[in-house]
Symmetry: C2
Subunit: 265 residues, 2 copies
């Protein structure tokens, strides 16, 4: 009796340890982080649109005069009321002398309706939160980069850390990515087109997420399939090296790919 | 020649003024604000899910032990590492003696895998931002309430400020809402079911957004259509009074509706 109880205890203990171990891999954090990153990107755009629509009631001309959504939000968070859009105030946020002059000028002539202080306050807080989130996004991107450089040095050297994390996320884990043939890596993220192809015989996809790789834009359009294949090929080897070995093979591979891209230009 | 130029100038001036006036109504701010409010609600839930999924790697038991998403996020933002989940620390955020004890106990036995400091930092910042957004949401709700009480006192007395703002948003402006027959107000927000009804002869919708009104839950299920009709009726009258007159008719109407709901209970 005592023995059975001991055995039971021992087995439960073992099961718990196994569950813990399953989650101990660093990949789970990279996966969570890349998911959060994509969500924050989405949220930032949503909040930006909200601010833009609301603030445009007051100063619709500003939107087209500022480059970059973040700068636009920062200007509003700092200044808001049109009459405070003086060159000096603008330059504190947006260091573009010429454009600052134009904005100050437009502020005087704007067709927008006046804003009360309480409206300004709400819009400013909103703009502020959006900028905050963007900062979080960037900090999170650095986190992912440094994690990827440790966990998958070769893979992320070739793919880039964020794209690499995206591929790993889609595969499910570093281990599963390492087990994948290069033809699968090539079309990760293009599942819809792939199954369409298998079902109806339409053209197979030439690239999934790896389409976002800068080399894809470095070659002629008709050569994209070729460079995608080469890229997926090297990525597959790199993933295996990252999981089973730890040698640096990524640098040389990337050089090779860049050379190949030059040929296909 | 000089005269034509003057006339042209005058006309442009007039057109600009008209554009400005169109946007001068306070309703445009209420409309923007209620849209932002709905977006923030969505964003908060998205970020909460992100935190929950990530943090559950470390301390999966916490989620079910805390009441309220905000409290959960605040606990993580403040404490994070499982070994710091002492009763004392928990009570600083979550003043529930009994539950705090249980959480501290669960933290000791948890099956989750360890978190490094850098992971904690990212999760905490994320939780922090989500809590921030919730605060913004509440400030925005107060803003909408006080605006609605000024612009549509009768309407928002009956509908409640947020539901009232939603209905006004769907109508497009206070003026358009005031022009609507009560049967339209009754089904605002149920457009899909309404057009389905007109097209295929399926049952017409009994209520749109007004289904969210507390009185709808105060009556028997089979009486919901009746109370919805009565509610829409009074709302329509209130909207007209808000736009054309300024007398207080809402208080009495609400009393009447509450009496009616008691009959239909």
């Amino acid at each position: 009796m005592q023995q059975t109880a001991n055995l039971r205890k021992e087995l439960i203990h073992k099961a718990r340890r196994q569950v813990t171990e399953h989650y101990t891999g660093r990949d789970v954090h990279i996966i969570r982080a890349i998911n959060v990153l994509e969500d924050i990107d989405f949220v930032f755009n949503l909040l930006f649109e909200d601010v833009r629509e609301w603030y445009s009631v007051h100063f619709p001309e500003l939107e087209k005069m500022v480059k970059g959504n973040e700068t636009y939000l920062e200007l509003i968070a700092k200044i808001c009321d049109r009459k405070d859009f003086t060159e000096k105030n603008i330059l504190e946020v947006y260091s573009n002398q010429e454009q600052a002059k134009r904005i100050a000028d437009a502020a005087l002539k704007s067709m927008g309706s006046p804003l009360e202080e309480k409206d300004c306050l709400r819009i400013q807080k909103l703009a502020d939160k959006a900028v905050d989130l963007k900062k979080q996004r960037n900090a999170l991107a650095s986190y992912i980069e440094s994690e990827m450089n440790v966990q998958m040095p070769n893979f992320s050297k070739i793919a880039g850390a964020l794209l690499g994390a995206k591929l790993m996320n889609a595969a499910g884990s570093i281990k599963r990515l390492a087990m994948m043939p290069s033809s699968t890596i090539q079309v990760i993220g293009a599942e819809k087109a792939l199954f369409q192809h298998l079902k109806t015989g339409s053209k197979p996809p030439k690239h999934g997420y790896i389409f976002q790789h800068p080399l894809m834009r470095a070659v002629k359009r008709k050569n994209r399939g070729k460079i995608a294949r080469a890229l997926a090929n090297k990525l597959s080897l790199a993933a295996k090296e990252d999981y089973f070995g730890k040698q640096d093979i990524g640098t040389k591979m990337l050089e090779g790919l860049e050379k190949r891209a030059l040929e296909l230009k």
